[in-house]
């Protein structure tokens, strides 16, 4: 019985990147129903398995500080879905966030990998609306992979389920 369960299970490797302070670790904790009150900047990486129905998502959350970013590439191999997290309230660093994402999309090892962008911290009053972030980043010209921009708040727990559904659909249609 266990074996049949296993074979029906879809296991995927999810890579989660984004600038420091974007909220990656908080999102991952929220998704695994852990306490989010004490999150500290990630120096290396965290990995968690999220189970949902017949899906097992192994999420790799890598630190986003500038000094750590050169190591992102060590995690590119065999990625099924790339999650990119943006702090929607950080207007000053929107360009930097956009540039880093563009660099990722140019990587050969991530070619064609579906992209989910979490526009996080939508609970803050100065958060930029998702459509505006999309436009500002000029991302709608992407045509070499499926992608979706999803507004969310890791703090309030909104938008995360929609993102999970998108990923599951993506894995289903593979």
């Amino acid at each position: 019985l266990l074996r049949t369960l296993r074979s029906n299970e879809t296991e995927s490797r999810i890579l989660m990147l984004g600038l420091d302070n974007a909220g990656k670790t908080t999102i991952l904790k929220k998704l695994s129903e852990e306490d989010i009150s004490e999150v500290t900047p990630t120096q290396g990486f965290n990995i968690k398995s999220l189970l949902s129905g017949s899906f097992k998502l192994n999420v790799w959350d890598i630190g986003g500080q500038k000094t750590i970013r050169p190591y992102w590439r060590n995690y590119f191999d065999n990625t099924d879905i790339l999650i990119y997290v943006i702090d929607s309230s950080d207007h000053k660093r929107m360009e930097e966030a956009s540039d880093e994402l563009r660099e990722l999309l140019d990587e050969d090892k991530l070619a064609g990998v579906p992209l989910l962008v979490f526009c996080n911290k939508q609970d803050l009053v100065n958060a930029m609306p998702v459509e505006e972030i999309c436009e500002l980043m000029g991302m709608m010209d992407i045509n070499d992979r499926p992608f979706q921009f999803q507004g969310c708040s890791a703090k309030a727990g909104t938008g995360l389920e929609e993102g999970m559904n998108w990923m599951k659909d993506q894995q289903k249609s593979k």
Binding site: D99, D106, V130, I142, N143, P146
Partner: protein, 228 residues
């Protein structure tokens, strides 16, 4: 001979793009066409997604794109891939017919859409006040405006897809019409897709290289500003 015949069938893999204004029901329609239920709470598409629908030995690829105002100018980055187009209209929302007609015309006049058949869906027929396909066509003046093109309009209801009942058969009928229209000119359309795709790839690579250079310059400026 059977092998040759099967080979021919599998050659007829087709890609259709699904366009239309936000809230028209594009995502819901694609889910229905592919036999999947759609969560009405899922929200707007701010991106792109492809759905693969297998039928016997050949596959139909349906591309779902965001219909919001800000996304429409990027529809054309995907035109090169398409054998045919599906354009969805909310038939219960006549206030937006003019907007829809404008987008539809802009699309079909694009050089990479020329000569490709178009299926127009007058969706949301279950809603009170929904207009019939004839009435939608009349109000949008499709007969006058959409000339020199193979097109067809079809009423449908994308929502309320049930696992048992399947999707509204009118969606299948519409998609079947489009498949037949493409199949009738498959060689010409495939050739066009092949040529356009190469051209689009070349241009995308050029744009990417230029963008990379621009980013590098911006980054240097940003870092210089931070240092001083």
């Amino acid at each position: 001979n059977l092998i040759a015949y099967c080979g021919k069938l599998s050659e007829k893999d087709m890609t259709f793009g699904v366009f239309g204004c936000d809230n028209a029901g594009k995502t819901t329609t694609i889910h229905a066409a592919c036999g999947q239920s759609q969560d009405p709470e899922q929200g707007a598409t701010f991106g792109m997604k492809s759905f693969i629908h297998k039928e016997g030995s050949h596959t139909l690829k349906l591309l779902d794109l965001g219909g919001g105002q800000k996304f429409r100018k990027f529809w054309e980055t995907n035109f090169s891939e398409m054998h045919g187009m599906i354009f969805v209209i909310d038939a219960a929302c006549p206030e937006r017919f003019e907007e829809s007609a404008g987008e539809l015309l802009k699309m079909i006049l694009h050089p990479m859409v020329e000569g490709k058949p178009v299926l127009i869906l007058a969706n949301k027929q279950d809603l009170p006040g929904a207009l019939s396909q004839g009435e939608v066509a009349k109000r949008m003046q499709l007969n006058e405006k959409v000339t020199a093109k193979k097109w067809q309009i079809q009423e449908c209801q994308a929502l309320n897809f049930t696992e048992e009942g399947g999707c509204d058969p009118r969606i299948q009928q519409g998609v079947q019409w489009l498949q037949n229209a493409v199949a009738a000119e498959f060689e010409r359309l495939s050739l066009q897709v092949g040529v356009d795709r190469e051209e689009a790839k070349r241009k995308a690579a050029e744009d990417r290289a230029a963008a990379k250079l621009a980013r590098q310059k911006k980054r240097e400026a940003r870092e210089a500003a931070a240092a001083s």
